[in-house]
Chain length 338, copies 2
């Protein structure tokens, strides 16, 4: 048994509307012992993702809700510090969906080994992990972008949006990002090669602004945010457009559902497709997706930015920051040095 303390973050209560610190509780306990077949994983990075808001509610969804009084669960990159499982050596790096804790015990089934030589290990929580695969599957399998088409991405400066836009550029599309802030927009156009970016926070007439930078209309809309931004984009879609519903962050903290313009009529007159998805729907394509993404990274064709806060005790604030729009690129919490 290792000496020291294991801190965990639990769901203390379900939020009504916007979550705050009071919905979380930190506990202190001993570092757990492992049994035959198990490994002890020391957390290095926590992944902070918008979908976790959905799991804080008890509404039926694709993801099992978190239970009150039990730990938050999310993507974690860690190091094996004890092992009674021959597949995992002490000192090796792993990624998996684990408790928000400084140490986790795993039987090895829900974690994967990482190759630290391929790319920095933290990338396994974004460009070479769930957000990267989410961007890849949604864009390739639902959006089906064709050369010369126009792709609009909302939540464009986030972990998924940044990858969507860059893949769309690799496919020969005109790419327009929508984000909240001049710094975010500059990042998209100056560093990631987006053709245009719109700061929705300072744009009075969003529909007009999008129309100006999409002179040929919108063929693919990759939606991470929903709400009024989507209303504006939807009014500009082309015949046989594809709308990829990846996230709806503008709606997650509403106390009651918001009404909006009905979309069925627009889908009808445009013969358009709208599809929601979760990354696990395409699990059988994981290897293909990771291979493509790794290749692009190694060829320098895919840029990424990490927004790292340090310290396990900063994790809750980093999560709440997602809804304040704090992050450019992937939001991570660094819990311990590699």
């Amino acid at each position: 048994m290792m000496d020291g303390m294991n801190r965990k973050i639990l769901l203390a209560s379900r939020p009504k509307g916007m979550p705050d610190e009071s919905n979380f509780e930190m506990t202190h306990g001993p570092i757990p012992e492992i049994k035959e077949g198990e490994v002890l994983i020391k957390t290095l990075y926590l992944s902070v993702d918008p979908y976790m808001r959905g799991r804080m509610s008890d509404a039926k969804s694709y993801a099992e809700p978190y239970k009150v009084g039990e730990p938050f669960v999310g993507g974690i990159v860690g190091k094996v510090v004890e092992s009674r499982n021959e597949k995992y050596k002490v000192g090796g790096y792993v990624e998996g969906r684990l408790d928000w804790a400084e140490y986790n015990v795993s039987d090895g089934r829900m974690i994967r080994r990482l190759n630290p030589e391929l790319a920095p290990i933290s990338t396994n929580l974004h460009v070479l992990g769930m957000p990267g695969l989410t961007a890849y599957f949604g864009l390739i399998y639902i959006g089906e972008p064709k050369e010369g088409e126009t792709v609009v991405v909302s939540g464009a400066s986030g972990a998924v949006g940044t990858i969507v836009g860059q893949i769309a550029k690799l496919k020969g599309c005109r790419v327009v990002g929508i984000a909240g802030g001049e710094d975010k927009c500059a990042f998209l156009t100056d560093e990631l090669g987006f053709d245009a970016a719109i700061n929705y926070k300072t744009t009075d007439n969003l529909r007009k602004a999008i129309a100006e930078v999409c002179p040929n209309g919108v063929d693919v809309y990759f939606d991470n945010v929903g709400g009024a931004i989507s209303d504006a984009v939807m009014s500009l879609i082309n015949f046989q457009a594809r709308i990829v519903i990846c996230g709806q962050i503008s709606q997650y903290n509403l106390e009651k559902p918001e009404l909006g313009p009905r979309v069925a009529g627009q889908l009808l007159t445009k013969s358009a497709l709208m599809k929601g998805f979760i990354v696990t729907d395409y699990a059988k394509h994981n290897k293909e997706g990771l291979t493509e993404l790794s290749q692009w990274i190694q060829e320098g064709k895919l840029q990424y930015r990490e927004n790292i806060v340090e310290g396990f005790d900063q994790a809750v604030d980093a999560f709440l920051g997602l809804f304040r729009g704090d992050n450019i690129g992937k939001q991570l919490v660094k819990v311990a040095d590699e």
Copy 2:
């Protein structure tokens, strides 16, 4: 040149909201002469369809708007009464998109010859025509019904809905129809073999009523109506449900767009697909569709009902009747005897 008169129905003005008689005008003129390569077609049946309402507006859509002062255009079955085109013999039957007139001239390119021995010629305007193919393509190519799944159809007693439900039964599905009237519901369950039918006009809690007859949720929703009926169905869809947007008749006569519950969140959490379409999107499958539909008709597996009004001067009222919910099955106007 033939003796006699040719009456035509023109669009006199664009409706605001619900159309009425004042939006139409009937003109009287001579029966036109034909040139080399042309045929003169005497109208026998006019097809009366909800999509025509969309063409009365000048909003950009998949179908070119009707022009004010020019004829209504729709599906027509007629008889060749003069011919200077060797492909069409006098006495033969044809179907095509033609002016709402007692006589039309065609160069033969936009009409098709009919085989009156296969089924009554009027069926080429519904089960063996555009509505039949619409039902077939939407259900098979978008809905993709699997044995044992639950399929809900709105506007179930109309030309498209009746065929959708019967094909879904042939595919081994549980089929629930939503229609406006006890007679329509009885027709669906007693004559067409639907498993259940709901009269939305006398149902207070539509969501509860649908849930009761869909104990396993809704896998495919074939939507002809939109609005509050769709809101109720959408709240009951299953994981990976398919929503086929075929029509939105509840919305066509609204003077300004209606707000409704946003559907993107539901599509997201259910990994569901929603797709609009028009029958011509699947034109390359026309032969396959007509072959299947003809076979089912000949095997007695597909029932249909025609709601026929007599007289060219009844056409406008028959069209307005679509929005009053007058018709069970396919609404036709019989203009002349075969």
